[in-house]
Amino acid sequence: MAGKAIVVTSGKGGVGKTTTVANLGTGLALMGRRVCMVDADIGLRNLDVVMGLENRIVYDLVDVVEGHCKLRNALIKDKRVENLFLLPAAQTREKDAITPQQMKEICEVLKEEFDYVLIDSPAGIEHGFRNAIAGADEALVVTTPEVSAVRDADRIIGMLEAHELGAPKLIINRIRPDMVRRGDMMDIEDVIEILAITLIGVVPDDQDVIVATNKGEPVVFDRRTRSGQAYHNIVRRLEGEDVPLMQLDNDGLVERLRRLFNRDARRRKAQ
């Protein structure tokens, strides 16, 4: 059976698209799925470093399109997880080095091999965005709970609908329970109400994401982290499971102690 291609997009830059692709891709592969992540951010490739695969790139997406290599030869195999591959973007080329039609063809071929093709879209609504969505069957829209990010998400949702991509689903990233609690950040309900689309997950703002990115190991590898748990939950929802939203605002004493304890345990393990 052919797999499906899912594009992760946002409109506004820097809200967490690449982090999302890395974690969902890794998480799905950890569940035993065959996954290929495609970096469609030509000229500003990042997925390779977030995944810790930057030293292994030989060929890239544009090489494939221009016939310098076979598609198979450009795929980088992750050594930590079975069945996880990356098709890197070209770093020294322009966004228009490939066309939406070419992107579509590549996705079609990949879908025969993989259960999931996850496409990391560049920010913006121009050529790179159109390439990224060209081969996609579904879309995930990432936003943070901020005015400008939500505004841009709304624009993107409109464009996705115009391209007849099935109803996009929303990921709210970098939510801060402490700020929500004191009324200084929009809550999940606020964002959903404004954008009127289906939510597929919420990821807290979490230092562990940055620590993980520093190491080139997606945070989903460590499910004791809150963000790792959040990404794992989204993975299960993609797989059709009905997983309740994780409790973000549990800053009771017990919870704080538990986290402290976990952190110490992790440190000890790392030493």
Binding site: E146, V147, V150, R151, D154, R155, G158, V180, R182, G183, D184, M185, M186, D187, D190, I194
Partner: protein, 93 residues
């Protein structure tokens, strides 16, 4: 000072309300200004509906979005030629 006490007693709503209100407004604008076609098709639907009740001057019909301080309104000016006979009777029965 007042704001300080507001915060102290947890009465202040924080900046979230401002964020939400501003977003709502800017999206009304964004969504509407996305397509002049939208206004056009709204006009056509209006003409169709209103024509059931009265004869209107479709040429002189105007529909605009008006933005004031913090509200947005759809303002329509629709010159009526004549009300259709029997409409009132139908509505009352």
């Amino acid at each position: 000072m007042l704001e300080f006490f507001g915060r102290l007693f947890g009465r202040d709503e924080g900046s979230k309300k401002a964020a939400k209100d501003r977003l709502r407004l800017v999206l009304v604008h964004d969504r509407a200004s996305l397509s002049p076609q939208l206004l056009e098709s709204l006009k056509e639907d209006l003409i169709e509906t209103i024509s059931k009740y009265m004869e209107i001057d479709t040429e002189g019909l105007e529909v605009n979005l008006d933005q004031e301080e913090d509200t947005m309104a759809l303002v329509a000016s629709i010159p009526i030629r004549r009300v259709r006979r029997g409409v009132a009777a139908k509505a009352n029965s």
